[in-house]
Amino acid sequence: MLGLDRKDFILLLVVFALVVLAPFLLNPFPTNSAMAQFNAGYPDLMQRFVIFGIFAIGFNLLFGLTGYLSFGHAAFLGVGSYSAVWMFKLLSMSVVPAIIASVIASGIFALLIGYISLRRTGIYFSILTLAFAQMSFNLAYSVLTPITNGETGLQITLADPRILGVTATESGSIPVTNLLGAEMRSTYIMDVGTWAFQFNVGYYVCAAIMLLAFYVSVRIFRSPFGLMLRAIKANKTRLNYTGLNIRPYTLAVFVISGMYAGLAGGLMASMDPLAGAERMQWTASGEVVLMTILGGAGTLIGPVLGAGVIKYFENIFSKINSSVLESWFAFMPENMQHAAVYVSEHFVGPGWHLTLGLLFMLVVTFLPGGLVEGGQRLSRLFRRKPQKDAARDSTQSNPAE
């Protein structure tokens, strides 16, 4: 089906189901229960899940297949965001030209950087990409402020021309991003009992693009081109001796990967029209590396899982403060409550970085293949259930190393 074998097709279906039903799956707790803190089914975070999923899928095409560890991928995300916001400023608030522009601009940028950086391999390649990205970040923050609006980030204003759209709405506000008139921000809330499920236009636009991006990545993994890339990872020297020039292949996948990053940046700007320079900082590049390794580099679904986990921690754990903790432990006697709050305080709220750091260490120590390996181990425990097995197996077909 769709040019995929059975396993891949089932995987695609599973991802499709997860993405479509995300508003339900991510909102398992009733709105006014104490556990509602853990609900992640609100538009902004769901959008982030799929957008960073796209970013990580693209990164994994380069790193997972060829083993080239780029430490500057955030630069492409940043370029994508800036291009998209400029489209909103100059052209119109429709997301279509913005997304197209972001993919093209980041593709060109990736071609330039890739052409130079791919002359080197291993850590030398990593440092070259890092250097380019840091230069972009530093310049965007300072000297290029007329283009990037520096520290504040590029925003749309009431003074923008928007030649194909309107400068301001009738009520005097800045118009909002839309796709054929459907506003990205509009949300439909469905109440079922005490649950509230949010269905957001922007999320489904991102989700559709993410499914497409995922499908393309599966096709690349399974194509002769993908095989060639894996051969590069396995043994570059041997390929060179057979008379093959590997540069065109690595450059091609580098540009594709950069375009994925640009697409993610364009979508971020489409959901929330602001592009900040810190999107290009090395920490942002490092984040996508961590997402990919955490989930399982070289696997199809791993990077998406990794992206989800890191964004979940960033957005949910950081918001748990001491008064929330107090309400959770309210059932305990007072002394125990204080003790429990005191201990758990270190891991949530301001301490969310600590939890994330511990998670990195635990996962990589005990699950060398990332979260995907965790899934595989679980599935081995439940061998008796064939349906689940099929889904897990297909993720397994591309081990990390």
Binding site: T31, N32, N39, Y42, P43, D44, L45, R48, N138, Y141, S142, V143, T145, G150, E151, T152, G153, Q155, T157, L158, A159, A168, S171, G172, S173, I174, V176, N178, G181, A182, E183, R185, S186, T187, Y188, I189, M190, D191, V192, G193, T194, A196, Q198, F199, V201, D272, L274, G276, E278, R279, E314, N315, S318, K319, N321, S323, G349, P350, W352, H353
Partner: protein, 453 residues
Amino acid sequence: MSNRLTRRGVLRTGAVAGAGLAVPTIFTGSSARAYTNEPTGSSVTLGFNVPQTGPYADEGADELRAFELAVEHLNGGGDGGMMQTFSEKNLKGNGILGKEVKFVTGDTQTKSDAARASAKSMIEKDGAVMISGGSSSGVAVAVQGLCQEAGVIFMAGLTHSNDTTGKDKKANGFRHFFNAYMSAAALAPVLEKMYGADRKAYHLTADYTWGWTQQESIQAATEALGWETVNNVLTPLAQTDFSSYIAPVLNSGADVLVLNHYGGNMVNSLTNAVQFGLRDKQVNGKNFEIVVPLYSELMARGAGENIKGIPGSQNWDWKLENQMGDRYTGTNAFVQSFGEKYGFPPSQAAHTCYAQTLLYADAVERAGSFDPCAVAEALEDFEFDGLGNGPTLYRAADHQCFKDVVVVRGKENPENEFDLVEIVEVTPREQVEYAADHPMFAGGNLGACNSGA
């Protein structure tokens, strides 16, 4: 039925429990709801968005303390703090409009992206009707833009760039904190008194928006006194060692060094300047001097002894009422209740956040509604007193507060780590006021108030 919260861009269908899927309808504009996140239950949620990780985490923690204290006072707990001294008497300790005040917190990480993500989750998930906090201008401008689009009120925390209420001002955003122009206007006459009118200044400026506006402001103000500007050197934000920027200063003919740096940058550049022995030198027959236009008491601790005798400006200081008299009433009430609860005096960041929360609550009471447009109207051209800064005006034209500015100097013999600065003078409000269309603030447009309806 579960109409506990309403959210932006949303129609609540109110499906009967268990009835399951209602017909999905997507709304794009006009609908029946009154405004974003209208509180319908017995409580109202405010969102406090402060840096909890990164270099400004301690400043964020102090802001959060102030917010918690403000909520406690609004709900009738504690001693009421500045509610007793506030010139308006609408707040009775029964919440806001009788609704209990609840709050959610988030981490801005001092990055505009993360700050917007955090604010969005407060609006979309927690139903916050007002967002406050923050410790840098980049974040403030970014979150202010978001609140404008979402239709909630933004009560800025610590943000000092001219742009927040200048080029990037928004109808839904309000700033109580002072700005770079006011710092410069307040400092200049004091500098003249301290160092004379014949001085040559060398500027080191953090290479981003705030640094530029600060430098522009102080250069204009000091040149008006007759000072000469020898040079202005931009330094990278990520710089930690400023030695290569400071080394040439002494040989440039300048006799004053102005450090347009904030936070970690300020601590490092000041420490480096003192290391180079600049303050022990004589140039042009005068003592070499260093000026730090914006002081942050929390960060000043990191510079320790190096700040002794160095002048700068502050929005507020906890010793204000004791030293400058009753005009600054409210200060002691706030310091008292903050100190009782946490054991040390509050920072200016904490003060502005506390004041912003009370100002918002009071505006809601006067407007009789949480509707952002009604609240904004209540805040515009609002004159008040008793919040520690003396008589203050929230100007309608740009949503900037106008009040006296405190000029401070690093104390020679601090008694403890909270007593690092001494008040030199308070520059009266008239001297720091400017026209709304002043060139340094030009190019912006408040736009129309957005209630999300």
